[in-house]
């Protein structure tokens, strides 16, 4: 059974979804989409947050969401139009609502000043909070029934009650008998039935009520308790409640709004307007008889209704597919992680079993071997299914970035819009979580450092508003996320001079453009000379790079003067397993991710072309590919003089550049469980993680792209610079 905390958790989880929906709606609104359903969806999200917040007594959240909702309601009702200034206030309010939810969730003090400021903005449109609004708020007190009568005098004693329900009272789901029964629970009851209104059988409509009652109730209960019994029939009956023997009080009670005549125009309308449904009902065979006009015994549905239900069911199947997210459950991430780990162990043990049987030299056609094959296929399916559970669309993360761009733009006086693509790309939940901080920082940077000031942009013929493009896609078994701005590009002379100034590179260093760009990732490189409202936060790109590397990811940078800068973040799809090719390097087993491999070759000697004693390129079908000797690159041995006794594995990175890796031999291909080295050891260039084989051996999982990157750096003419940089890097690792 759920407890209060579970309920609260659900509320916050739902808030997350609602905030995403709200943000999306607000964004569409800001892009000129003013279709009623968009506005309604925003309204509903805020409304639901308010409703839940009320249930949990989160007063500030209720107060703020109520005003926000009121503003949205004005827009929804068409009393306001979605002008730019209104949209801005809506966006601010949406952001603040998110902050309030976060504060409430973390049990923190909310920023009441910001609430007041934001309410002030809302009030500019709505006018000051009126007393009627205060009344509405009273309804969020956890006393919730809707009593129109405030007569709560303690009137124990005898009460004379006249109760005359309207004709249609049964059709609205009421049952006078139950009301009498409930009254009986309050005390002793004397009931007199008045059946004088019942017409002759010919004129009688079995769906209607013709009866009324006079009741003498002796009770200790208060007037209010008695009135509560009639709560729902208020307006559907003529009711008099009179304390017997107290004429004065009785007179006062006579005028209660329960009385049909004194009630609102509504009840009059109810009695006057014909209800069309009973006409059909009278003809229906299962219409209740007059002696038992309860409508409470549901008769079996006629065939037509059954058919309709069947059609409904079919419809529903189709719709559930369309809705998609409807048929989902929420699972604690911990449980999934446990499953992932257990499945990982399963895979390892299955590999061990396989190995043991192989050692027994069983024939491949034996029952045992076939069974084992099936087992391995099944465990693979389990693994894939588990991974699919962990996969999540990157959309919510991207959605958050709209706010970052807005805020960064406001803080730096720049005009910026965010464009996103590939929001549906699925990524491991853990990756998404850990990506939030670095991504936020990169987006901020793009606005702060990437884009030019609006007047400058106009001057050089660009659009006043800069564009930040954020996209995600699956590329060669990894997730590629691009953050691109259309700003000025990296100011390379400036970056270089800063690096020299800070002693990061020698003053006479001769660097390529790409190398200069990469200086941004050096620890200690912070563009402190251009401190702005945002960049003073003390997080450099080196922190971003480390965060991404700890996810098994890479970040690369490219920049063109006046066209902009783009960062490419490449991440593994999952942090748990990978398909790998097991190779041997200098007597050690190593794993190369299959996704990176294009082909394997054993090329003849004439295809290798030496650049110098240890540098080779390989000619593969007419193109030249740089050769990297893995054993030498990892420091196991010196470079080979003769590459022909090696096996060549051609790999391709996210940017589609190819490299030939030299290994000593290929052992097999298998799925391996990733065991992070970084938790216990630290990051090593060229190595992504480690794994354990079925026979208990530990093998390194190579990170081919970083291996290649490392080699190209070592083999670089500007070695001195590089080594200085490597040392810096090592010092922070």
């Amino acid at each position: 059974m759920a407890n209060g905390n579970d309920l609260l958790d659900t509320f916050y989880q739902e808030c997350e979804d609602l905030l995403v929906a709200m943000d999306e709606g607000l964004r569409e609104l800001s892009e000129g989409e003013s279709d009623p359903e968009t506005i309604n969806a925003i309204f509903r999200a805020v409304h639901s947050i308010k409703g839940g917040a009320g249930a949990f007594d989160l007063t500030e959240l209720v107060r703020f969401s109520h005003r926000f909702e009121t503003l949205l309601d004005e827009l929804r009702a068409g009393r306001m139009t979605a002008e730019e200034d209104l949209i801005e206030v809506l966006q601010f309010s949406g952001d603040h609502l998110g902050d309030l939810v976060t504060a409430a969730r973390n049990g923190e003090e909310s920023d009441t000043e910001a609430t007041e400021r934001n309410l002030g903005l809302i009030n500019k449109f709505l006018g000051p909070e009126k007393s009627s609004d205060e009344e509405v708020e009273i309804e969020f007190e956890p006393v919730s029934f809707d009593f129109d009568l405030g007569l709560a005098t303690g009137g124990a004693g005898r009460h004379a009650i006249t109760f005359r329900p309207t004709r249609d009272v049964y059709q609205l789901g009421h049952e006078p008998f139950r009301i009498l029964r409930e009254l009986a629970e309050l005390g002793t009851l004397e009931v007199t039935l008045d059946a004088s209104e019942v017409p002759t059988l010919d004129d009688l409509d079995p769906e209607e009520n013709y009866l009324s009652w006079s009741i003498l109730l002796e009770t200790e209960s208060s007037d209010q308790a008695i009135q509560e019994v009639f709560e729902f029939v208020d307006g559907l009956c003529t009711l008099e409640i009179r304390p017997e023997g107290d004429a004065a009080e009785g007179a006062a009670l006579d005028t209660t709004p329960f009385d049909l005549a004194a009630g609102s125009g509504v009840s009059a309308a109810t009695t006057v307007e014909p209800v069309p449904a009973p006409v059909e009902v009278a003809a229906a065979p299962e219409a209740p008889v007059v002696s038992e006009p309860t409508g409470s015994e549901p008769a079996p549905p006629p065939a037509a209704a059954e058919a309709a239900q069947a059609a409904d069911a079919r419809d529903k199947q189709g719709k559930q597919k369309a809705k998609g997210s409807n048929a989902s459950i929420r699972v604690d991430l911990e449980r999934v992680d446990k499953l992932v780990n257990v499945v990982g162990e399963l895979v390892i043990h299955q590999a061990m079993l396989f190995q043991a049987l192989e050692n027994m030299r069983l024939s491949s056609g034996s029952e045992l071997a076939t069974g084992l094959d099936e087992l391995s296929q099944l465990s693979r399916e389990i693994q894939e299914s588990v991974m699919a559970i962990r996969a999540q669309q990157i959309k919510p993360l991207f959605q958050r970035m709209f706010r970052i761009v807005r805020e960064a733009g406001a803080a730096t006086g720049k005009k910026a819009v965010l464009e996103t693509a590939g929001e549906m790309t699925e990524v491991d939940t853990a990756v998404i979580e850990k990506l939030a901080d670095p991504l936020t920082h990169m987006i901020r940077n793009a606005v702060d450092h990437g884009l030019e000031a609006p007047d400058k942009r106009v001057q050089i013929g660009k659009a006043e508003t800069g564009t930040i493009r954020l996209s995600a896609a699956h590329r060669s078994g990894r997730v590629a996320i691009t953050i691109a701005d259309d700003g000025a590009g990296i100011n390379r002379p400036k970056v270089k001079s800063i690096a020299i100034e800070k002693g990061l590179i020698p003053a006479d260093a001769d660097l390529t453009d790409a190398e200069i760009d990469n200086l941004l990732f050096l620890p200690g490189f912070s563009t402190a000379s251009e401190v702005s409202a945002l960049s003073g936060r003390g997080v450099g790109m080196d922190v971003v790079k480390n965060a991404i590397q700890s996810l098994g990811g890479r970040v690369t940078i490219s920049s063109r003067p006046n066209e902009g800068t783009s960062f490419l973040v490449s991440l593994p799809l999952t942090l748990a397993v990978l398909d790998g090719m097991v190779v041997e390097v200098a007597g050690h087993p190593m794993v190369i991710p299959i996704t990176a491999i294009v082909e394997t070759l054993k090329p003849p000697k004439q295809d290798f072309h030496g650049l110098d004693s240890s540098d080779w390129v390989l000619s593969v079908r007419g193109t030249y590919v740089p050769v990297v000797d893995v054993g030498a690159a990892l420091g196991f041995r010196t470079a080979k003089d003769d590459p022909t006794n090696s096996v060549v594995i051609i790999i391709e990175d996210e940017e589609s550049s190819r490299t030939a890796l030299l290994v000593d031999g290929i052992q097999d291909q298998r799925q391996v469980v990733i065991k992070s080295l970084e938790e216990n050891y630290g990051h090593i260039d060229g190595v992504a993680a480690a794994t354990v084989f079925g026979d208990g051996r530990v093998a390194l999982i190579l990170d081919p792209s970083s291996l290649v990157e490392q080699i190209s750096r070592v083999g670089d003419p500007s070695n001195g610079t590089r080594i200085a940089m490597e040392e810096r890097h090592a010092a922070t690792a």
Binding site: M1, A2, D6, L7, T10, F11, Q13, E14, N40, R44, H47, S48, G51, G52, G54, A55, V136, E139, F140, P142, S144, F145, D146, Y170, Q171, L172, G173, H174, E175, R178, I179, E207, E231, F232, G235, L236, S264, G265, V266, S267, A269, T270, E273, A277, V281, A287, P288, T294, G295, E297, P298, P301, P302, A305, Q309, D312, A313, D315, K316, K319
Partner: protein, 121 residues
């Protein structure tokens, strides 16, 4: 006899709380996410009482009531509205369409249960 309740609300939080409160009171609870979903579940769960929110996607509470009251079979089914709204014109509209009662959110568990017992057969 166990009272069967169909509770319709688009908010997961609210559905959870309703389920908690109502199942805790010994009712047999069926949950639906919007009016359309409620209509589809109506036949199967054959409720004694329906509690519905008003503002919901796909089909709102009014749409639900209109549809239910349009089917002769459900004419006497008690339908309680559970909403944050309290505007008189909405109440009037709901009553005119055939709502049985009106309860304002957030609800008090005991009172909600009492209200259901009051209208349920």
């Amino acid at each position: 006899m166990t009272i069967k309740v169909l509770a319709i609300d688009d908010s997961r939080t609210m559905r959870n709380m309703l389920n908690y409160a109502l199942a805790g009171a010994g009712f047999e609870v069926t949950l639906a996410e919007d009016g359309q979903d409620g209509l589809e579940k109506l036949g199967n769960c054959d409720p004694d009482v329906v509690i519905t929110d008003l503002n919901m996607p796909v089909m709102d509470g009014f749409g639900f009531i209109e549809n239910v009251r349009g089917q002769s079979h459900w004419l006497g089914l008690p339908i309680l509205i559970l909403t944050t709204e309290s505007a008189e014109e909405l109440k009037a509209k709901a009553r005119k369409m055939g709502a049985t009662g009106w309860i304002v959110k957030p609800f008090d568990e005991e009172k909600l249960v009492a209200a259901i017992r009051r209208v349920a057969s």
